[in-house]
């Protein structure tokens, strides 16, 4: 028996050695094209079909590289990237990164510093605000790709029937909503994405800045919980109580908002750019084709700002530990290049600033059916777009703020109490 247990011990030891060796072994160099694996999302921006078409084009033009692309929903993307980074080499060579994750990912050393790979021309031609998205501490970690912000959508038919103008302020919007509700045109005039997800933070930030508030103060400390922020959350709760905001907003993300709005069940909605093409022009996706208006996101009266919205831009970055960094970077450059961005501009407007003036602007507007509306809306809205703070602990803090908003909306806490608790979480995480 003793011999047997000794043998077991040896075998176990052997197994450990084999497994750790397998973990360190480098993958065999395969002949043929180098494979670049890309992780993107299926939500906002270009559709997977369009992304696949771009991949096919790239693969055709560069026979030595083969790009393989995968998609997850936005809400699964962060966690998917983080788990993929735990292996060596990582499961992906290129990932889509939201602006709020750059600080965390750079701190963890996931992303390749590409500052020196970007030529002067690219540096100047791409919007400087777009570079802010992919930069951390003055270094650049990716190419800006999706310059997005939330826009104000309204159903022109409902507004016409109710005899109201397009609201310029949130107060106007409440007035209009009351009228629409009284006339029975829709049950709940406004639909939001207030689910326990990042989407809720986006809507909150738009409202917060529209009330003259800020997320953090000049020292980088929480300011979202001051009286401006509390007023906003109180307003959110009140609109649900009054039956003006759809109560299901508490469980909705952007795609739900799009579905409700596209069915003609809401008069007003906030959403990213991609909804315009799908709701206003695509009869397969929408019952309100030709009845969709796009305007500046309202602000509150007396806030001193005409409009405020959330900047939700994203970039494509190369993984630092990828064995195929150069090839991966080639693909990122291709994907974000001016011709490709113009070709697919129905769901994503170019990051190249030259397209928004003179002859180029007219050309951009003529590329498809949605651009005549979306391009001017983009230029008008982007000056009022606000970014969320870039801190490495953002995902965990965001969860706390999502919880706070939902606790206020479900009346488990007062708005002030809920926001103060979230601010306390910020302070706890910031000092860790």
């Amino acid at each position: 028996m003793r011999a047997v247990s000794r043998l077991v011990f040896v075998v176990v030891l052997l197994a450990l050695v084999v497994m750790s060796a397998a973990g360190c072994a480098s993958p065999q160099q395969a002949s043929g094209p180098k494979v670049v694996k890309v992780l993107a999302m299926q939500q906002a921006g270009p559709t997977p079909e369009e992304m696949n078409a771009i991949v096919a084009k790239f693969n055709q033009s560069s026979p030595n590289v083969k790009v393989e692309i995968e998609y997850v929903s936005y809400d699964a993307l962060h966690d998917k990237i983080v788990t993929a980074m735990a292996t060596n080499p990582p499961s992906y060579d290129v990932v889509l990164v939201d602006d709020i994750w750059y600080a965390e990912f750079v701190k963890n050393g996931y992303l390749w510093d590409v500052t020196d790979k970007i030529d002067q021309n690219t540096k100047q031609e791409v919007f400087s605000t777009a570079w802010d998205i992919t930069s951390v501490n003055g270094r650049i970690y990716g190419m800006p790709w999706l310059l997005d912000q939330k826009y104000f959508y309204y159903n022109t038919e409902i507004l016409e029937k109710a005899g109201v103008d397009v609201p310029q302020t949130w107060e106007d919007l409440i007035e209009a909503s009351r009228k629409i509700k009284e006339m029975g045109l829709v049950e709940y005039p406004i639909v939001w994405s207030w689910a326990q997800a990042e989407a809720a933070i986006c809507d909150f930030v738009a409202l917060l800045y529209g009330n003259g508030g800020t997320f953090v103060d000049s020292n980088g400390n929480p300011a979202f919980n001051n009286e401006k922020g509390v007023q906003v959350v109180e307003w959110m709760v009140k609109t649900v109580d009054e039956g003006l905001s759809n109560p299901a907003s508490i469980s909705y993300v952007e795609e739900d908002v799009r579905n409700v709005f596209s069915q003609g069940k809401a008069a007003f909605a906030l959403n990213w750019l991609y909804m315009y093409d799908l709701a206003a022009l695509n009869p397969d996706e929408s019952q309100v084709v030709g009845k969709v208006g796009l305007g500046l996101v309202p602000a509150f009266k007396g806030s001193g700002v005409p409009s405020a919205t959330i900047n939700g831009s994203m970039g494509f970055s190369v993984i630092d530990k990828s064995p195929n960094r150069e090839e991966a970077w080639e693909y990122v450059k291709f994907l974000t290049s001016e011709p490709i961005q113009k070709e697919y501009s129905a769901h994503l407007l170019p990051v190249w600033s030259g397209n928004y003036e003179g002859q180029a602007l007219e050309e951009l507007k003529s590329l498809n059916e949605s651009n005549p509306v979306t391009v001017p809306a983009f230029s008008a809205q982007i000056v009022y777009a606000h970014v969320r703070p870039k801190v490495p602990f953002y995902p965990e803090f965001s969860k706390a703020l999502q919880l706070a908003l939902q606790e206020a909306l479900t009346k488990q806490k007062s708005p002030a109490q809920a926001l103060n608790d979230a601010a306390a979480k910020w302070n706890e995480l910031a000092t860790k």
Binding site: D75, V82, Q196, N246, A248, I250, Q263, P395, Q406, Q412
Partner: protein, 304 residues
């Protein structure tokens, strides 16, 4: 002719058998070690560290700090309360409904074969698909539940089912019950089929009514099968994650954040592998306690 001398260190027959047997089970041992024991030991080591997910090699030994942090954290206990609620309500309802269905099939009414076959369908649907399906059913603006209740005149306007924490939890439980009742029904139905009909017939002749026959004959004989079904379902329900991830993402206001969901958040959203590992072991401790309780309650000496 002399008898050949026995070598002093030759194996006895028993030893030979042990040796041969060992080589035969070795592949199995290796697999079990690789996919079960090694991860468990690794997780156990992690639970005493503050390892970040960005660098998953165990590092930063902190002793019992992770465990103490959670055991003194109201968020943890709220998640445990929700998990217990989920487990008790869903497994309880599944047992009652499953028993009812099993008895119904056992009575072999017209169409019982069809009933038994169609029972498999909910169980065969992957949990993720099941969750997605119920998410659509519960949708406040175009879901089937609102449509049905509205048409029947039970509600006078569409309701936002998933916007209220307690309702959301109960509706997730309904989705889980729909998915898991067939499992219990099929196990109990199989066990019912093994009970000799003579026992019941004899009791009926002696004047026992249906109720008495169930509690005095069938139920005691079904107890081992009930125990197996309960243990499996309770452990599963206690670790519930996927159906919640799909239907509510833990919302609204953390109203459906169970202990497994909290573990997921801790490990992958917040990137603290050490904390997540400690939570995993706390879950294991809870499930072990429950399994022991069951065995105490149901596997009494008199059943053997």
């Amino acid at each position: 002719m002399s008898i050949p001398a026995v070598k002093p260190n030759a194996m006895t027959l028993t030893q030979q058998r042990l040796r041969d047997g060992f080589w035969l089970i070795l592949p199995g041992l290796l697999v079990i070690f690789g996919i079960t024991l090694f991860p468990i030991i690794y997780t156990f080591v992690l639970s005493f560290t503050e390892t970040p997910i960005s660098n998953p090699a165990p590092q930063g030994f902190v002793g019992f700090r992770n465990y103490l942090y959670f055991l003194s954290n109201p968020v943890f206990w709220a998640a445990i309360r929700r998990t217990l609620y989920f487990t008790v309500v869903s497994v309880g309802a599944e047992l009652i409904l499953g028993m009812g269905l099993a008895l119904l099939i056992h009575a072999r009414p017209f169409g019982w074969q069809f009933l038994r076959t169609s029972l498999i369908i909910p169980w065969a649907i992957p949990t993720i698909v099941n969750g997605a399906m119920w998410r659509w059913i519960y949708n406040a603006d175009y879901g089937a539940l609102n449509g049905l209740l509205y048409q029947l005149g039970i509600i006078d306007r569409y309701r936002a089912w998933l916007s209220e924490p307690v309702t959301a939890m109960n509706l997730v439980i309904v989705a889980d019950i729909w998915h898991s009742v067939p499992f219990i029904a099929l196990i109990l139905q199989a066990a019912l089929a093994t009970i000799p009909r003579e026992l019941e017939e004899a009791a009926a002749v002696d004047g026992a009514n249906v109720w008495q026959r169930f509690w005095k004959i069938r139920f005691p004989l079904l107890q081992p099968a009930i125990l197996v079904a309960l243990v499996i379902r309770t452990v599963e329900a206690f670790r519930v994650f996927d159906i919640i991830y799909v239907i509510t993402q833990g919302g609204p206001a953390f109203g459906t954040v169970t202990i497994s969901y909290l573990t997921y958040l801790e490990s992958f959203s917040y990137g603290r592998l050490g904390g997540g590992a400690a939570l995993s072991f706390l879950i294991s401790a809870f499930t072990l306690i429950m399994a022991l309780l069951y065995i105490r309650l149901l596997y009494r000496e008199d059943l053997r």
